[in-house]
């Protein structure tokens, strides 16, 4: 891969950067929910492309993978709940647009001023041969605590999400005293139970 950023890589990074921000703006401009979702996906993929150019292969492909799945699921929810999924009639659903714009622009300006005034430390060129191995050894070694916490957090999320989203508990499925042999589901699944 790229040991040091070549001219092509810098050009690609710049183009992808512009694309990611433009797609991010498009999310809130287009009328159609499907297009908004996929504009967001385009923004993620552009960032994944920049990460790829920065030699972070694993993080880049994992970003692409996870965000695509997220966006696909998001599209389903969008269309399930929105009044106007396909943008048949233009409509705006915003509140306090001016205040939000000022806040967003303000945050951007503050960050940019910081970015261009700080004297960034020049790095010493000791990049590892394999960034994936570096990450793997970190999360299975020195940073294992982070992974443990993440694991517990994700498990809690699975439980909490299921509890919140479903309206049927085991009493609905197996009867008030849990004696029913087969669960009473609207659609039977593929396992003999």
């Amino acid at each position: 891969m790229l040991s040091d950023l070549s001219g092509w890589a810098i050009a690609a990074v710049a183009a992808l950067g512009v694309l990611s921000v433009a797609a991010g703006v498009a999310v809130f401009v287009v009328d159609s929910m499907a297009r908004a979702t996929f504009a967001l996906l385009a923004s993620f993929l552009a960032v994944a492309g920049i990460l790829l150019a920065l030699d972070l292969v694993y993080l880049a492909v994992v970003t692409a993978l996870m965000m695509t799945i997220e966006m696909a699921i998001m599209a389903v929810f969008m269309i399930m709940f929105m009044m106007n999924p396909a943008g048949l009639m233009p409509m705006t659903m915003v509140h306090n647009a001016k205040g939000s714009a000022v806040t967003g622009a303000g945050a951007f300006v503050v960050l940019v001023v910081g970015i261009w005034t700080i004297d960034w430390p020049t790095r010493d060129a000791s990049r590892p041969a394999d960034s994936t191995r570096q990450l793997g050894e970190a999360i299975m070694g020195s940073h294992m605590l982070v992974m443990l916490v993440i694991g517990i957090g994700l498990f809690t999320t699975i439980l909490a999400g299921t509890v919140l989203a479903t309206s049927r508990g085991r009493y609905d499925r197996f009867g008030a005293d849990l004696t029913a042999k087969r669960p009473d589901d609207p659609v039977p699944g593929g396992l003999p139970r």
């Binding site: 996929f38 694993y58 993978l65 695509t68 699921i73 396909a86 994936t132 699944g189 593929g190």
Partner: protein, 312 residues
């Protein structure tokens, strides 16, 4: 790292063209075998070529108020992603480009396929197509995790996510011997992601062709080509990950890999066409309740073997 990628060995443009050609030939082979098995007549093998030529010149039909932009993007993305997934499959012992996360790359292309197929279903603004798109998402969710675990199991044994490393580790013992579950799950999920055979519910005849129901002309050609190229790429990947890649006596390595790929294709089509389309509300439960624990168990077994130095 001593290994060379195809792009370094041949130059970027010839290597890319080579991989595209390999992908198209593989797809054509899959389509031909499929036609022969379905129609029962060997001369149906030329049918894919004939119908491709016809579709190429066919006029496009359209529907009421389609989302043309997203529809086109989806149709173009399906074959593109199929070819991109081939970029990390070893061809002649080398991959088009080699990263330290080849397996994740392959998986990410499949995930992007979700979005692409969903777009193909969403674009025409039609009931059957959209139903097919949703079925594909449900199917993708149910098979994504087993597929991921199956891929990771092969990576675990080789101690690397790089396809060529996994290739090299199997010189003495094919991975399928110690990870049969992962192999079967990988091939079945590949069929599910290409929504082909028993997993064709997203394009099922019960919803009038599903995602493909409103496609015509070049669009249909692109999507159908993407499906078969993806199946061919997955068969080649299965041969590389689980069937020892290019190891074998007498013949040169690449020929062995080709033969194994063809064997996987033949077995897949032969088994897959002997059963009806499985209804998604049945298969999805099996995916979550059976395949996920089973592949996890498989990974555990392989992990214990790795700790005992079995693959070293």
């Amino acid at each position: 790292m001593s290994e060379q990628t195809l792009a370094e060995a041949w130059g970027l443009v010839p290597a890319v063209l080579g991989i595209v050609a390999v992908g198209l030939v593989l797809g054509l082979v899959v389509a031909a075998v499929d036609r022969v098995v379905v129609s029962g007549a060997p001369r149906a093998a030329v049918e894919p070529i004939r119908s491709s030529a016809r579709l190429l010149f066919e006029q496009r039909r359209t529907t009421l108020a389609p989302d043309r932009l997203l529809w086109r993007i989806g149709c173009v993305a399906v074959p593109t992603l199929a070819l991109l997934s081939l970029a990390v499959v070893p061809v002649g012992g080398r991959t088009l480009w080699s990263t330290s996360a080849d397996l994740v790359w392959f998986n990410a292309m499949e995930a992007l396929l979700w979005a692409a197929v969903w777009l193909v279903g969403w674009g025409p603004n039609a009931v059957h197509a959209l139903t097919g798109g949703y079925r594909f998402l449900a199917q993708g969710l149910a098979y994504e995790l087993p597929l991921m675990f199956a891929l990771i199991t092969a990576g675990l044994a080789a101690g690397s996510l790089r396809a060529t490393d996994i290739f090299a580790t199997q010189e003495n013992l094919w991975f399928v011997v110690t990870m049969p579950v992962a192999f079967v799950v990988f091939v079945a999920s590949a069929a599910a992601f290409a929504f082909w055979g028993p997993f064709a519910a997203p394009a099922g005849p019960d919803i009038a062709g599903g995602v493909a129901s409103e496609l015509s002309g070049v669009d249909r050609l692109l999507v159908e080509a993407g499906r078969v190229v993806f199946l061919g790429a997955s068969a080649a990947m299965a041969a590389a990950l689980f069937l020892g890649g290019d190891s074998g006596p007498w013949l040169p390595g690449p020929l062995w890999h080709l033969l194994k790929t063809l064997a996987v294709v033949a077995a897949l089509v032969w088994v897959g066409r002997r059963m009806p389309v499985l209804r998604p509300d049945r298969t999805v439960e099996v995916g979550w309740m059976v395949l996920v624990p089973l592949t996890l168990l498989q990974a555990l077994v392989v992990a214990v073997l790795v700790l005992n130095g079995f693959y070293a």
